[in-house]
């Protein structure tokens, strides 16, 4: 997992509440157990005019020009802005995978669904909870200002706007530690690699029949 310390990026405003995991990535794409390649199918039903299926060449499908992510001014966005209860629905880890693989590094919203929140942080997607009034203002600013970018400082737990405002957000210290150091659960375990190796050497010594 990549470290998340300070990032700065273009904001895509998605003026919707209760964006569910089925909308984030429809069920037909869950059959795959690969953890890659979900980017083109993020928000598939909103993004394309036709019905998508796995195995299609998604670059040739007709785009819904009205969908926010299809507008030229939001190309290359890395911060998604949305309303309450983002990520509600299933426990599918495909939802954060799709957001990350599309290119998003952070989502800002007033609230997130629990499982989605945990799944996202485990995968290095930073979810930032800001007061609903602030999110509302940011949505309007982002819509009104072409090239609207924000800076996110995880160490300081702050989001800064082009207008020079800064908003503090809360995050669990353990989650923060993992993100700052790029530690996913495997990364954390591997932080004890010397102990693991020492155990394995001793284990080999004690129960050699398991290794012969």
């Amino acid at each position: 997992m990549e470290k998340f310390v300070r990032r700065e990026g273009l904001v895509a405003p998605m003026d919707r509440a209760n964006v569910d995991t089925d909308a984030i990535i429809p069920k037909q794409y869950l059959k795959s157990i690969k953890r890659t390649g979900y980017g083109p199918n993020l928000f598939d039903e909103w993004r394309y005019l036709d019905h998508g299926e796995p195995g299609m060449d998604h670059s040739k499908r007709p785009l819904n020009k009205d969908f926010v992510l299809n507008q030229p001014r939001y190309q290359g966005a890395t911060v998604l802005l949305a309303r309450e209860n983002f990520g509600c629905g299933s426990s599918r880890e495909h939802a954060p995978w799709a957001l990350l693989q599309y290119g998003f590094q952070a989502v800002i919203a007033p609230s997130f669904a629990d499982i989605f929140y945990n799944n996202s942080l485990k995968n290095g997607l930073l979810l930032i909870r800001l007061d609903a009034k602030i999110v509302d203002r940011l949505l309007r600013e982002a819509q009104a200002t072409p090239g609207y970018r924000v800076a996110i400082d995880l160490e300081q737990q702050a989001v800064s706007t082009p207008g020079g405002e800064s908003f503090r957000f809360e995050i669990d210290p353990f989650n923060k530690h993992c993100l700052l150091n790029g530690l996913d659960e495997i990364g954390l375990t591997l932080g004890h690699a010397d102990k693991i190796r020492a155990f394995e050497a001793a284990h080999r010594e004690r129960q050699p029949w398991l290794f012969s």
Binding site: E93, K122, I186, I196, E200, W209
Partner: protein, 358 residues
């Protein structure tokens, strides 16, 4: 099936796999439990898992089992007693003279369904039966290494004065052949019993659950279990597809015929070696002569991932481990039983106490 057969499963190992019935390996004094996809990845990358220590439960089954009462009946009786959440948060040690008296096959059947009792892991202490089973398997140690291993394996027993967070005791002599009647493994009763009446249940949540189960199973309260007629018979699954299971079932169907109301009766050996051995012993002939289909090894009708499924409304006497709604096919109705009881139901055309079969 194959881990123990090959001696890849050895006493004292920690065994994990992406299947909840990994608990089967606990029969060898292993700490064995199922894990999810992300955990599989974690194990492959690090050989470790982050875990919280579980609580401990001892389930003691003392005394001698009656004739025709099997390991499956023991574990169904345990689940009937403690419930499917009874073991949640615990690892179980199955102990007592009735467990000691079981073969390794029987112990695997018991440990297999630890998860249906709510426990991620269940185990049996190492003894002569364990050692005898492991000896000479392809991947088991040999020579001086065997002696060294043996000295360690002999230590894999609970101290006589060990304390457990919870102790459950069953009298083996009281355990009767079991048949599940509902949509949870804890909804189980004895073959001479009746479908329970939800009206007698005081707890409204339980009552509603029972009512829903009976509706799904299309059963009326107080129906004698022996009046229930299965449409299909499935002998197989990682619970009950080892050689001893097939022998027990074959003994019941020998020189008999599957009843005319049974649409399909299949025997699915748990592995290629089990199949081979059963064929050497002529069990396949006994089954096919009686009207059973003799199949290739696999999971088959346990979970309905292939074509071996129940159609909506069909009823099955099954030696598998789960009777959830739709488990064996949408709308299918599962009755969990031992291999001998499934065989007896096939011959009689309805559930019957295998001990009364001539």
């Amino acid at each position: 099936m194959i881990g123990p057969e090959q001696g890849a499963t050895l006493p004292g190992m920690t065994v994990v796999c992406g299947d909840s019935h990994t608990s089967t390996h606990g029969a060898f004094g292993c700490l064995a439990f199922g894990i999810g996809t992300s955990e599989v990845e974690h194990v492959l990358a690090t050989q470790c898992l982050m875990m919280k220590k579980t609580k401990t439960m001892k389930v003691e089954v003392e005394g001698a089992l009656g004739l025709g009462v099997t390991a499956k009946d023991i574990i169904l009786a345990i689940i009937g007693k403690i419930g499917t959440a009874g073991g949640t948060g615990y690892s179980i040690e199955f102990a007592g003279s009735a467990i000691r008296a079981l073969s390794m096959e029987g112990r695997m059947t018991v440990c297999n369904m630890s998860i249906e009792a709510g426990a991620r892991a269940g185990m049996v202490a190492v003894d002569d039966t364990t050692i005898e089973y492991v000896k000479g398997r392809p991947m088991a140690p040999a020579g001086a290494m065997w002696d060294k291993a043996l000295a360690y394996w002999r230590t894999l027993v609970s101290d006589p004065d060990a304390t457990f967070d919870k102790v459950v005791t069953l009298d083996a002599a009281q355990i009767q052949p079991q048949v599940s009647w509902g949509t949870s493994p804890q909804m189980v009763t004895t073959v001479d019993g009746k479908v329970p009446d939800p009206a007698q249940e005081k707890d409204p949540v339980q009552r509603e659950w029972m009512e829903r189960a009976l509706k799904y199973m299309d059963l009326k309260p107080n129906t004698p279990i022996t009046q229930i007629k299965p449409d299909k018979i499935f002998i197989g699954a990682c619970t009950n597809s080892r050689i001893e299971d097939l022998r027990a079932a074959a003994q019941v169907v020998k020189d008999k015929r599957v009843a005319s109301n049974i649409k399909l009766a299949i025997v699915v050996p748990g592995s290629g070696l089990v199949k081979q051995q059963a064929e050497q012993e002529g069990l396949d002939k006994i089954f096919t002569a009686a009207g059973f289909e003799w199949r290739q090894p696999g999971c088959s009708m346990c979970l309905g991932m292939n074509d071996d499924q129940l159609s909506p409304g069909e009823r099955c006497a099954s030696t598998s481990n789960r009777n959830f709604e739709g488990r064996q096919g949408a709308g299918g109705r599962t009755h969990l039983v031992s291999p001998a009881m499934a065989a007896a139901a096939a011959v009689a055309g309805h559930f019957v106490d295998v001990r009364t079969m001539k």
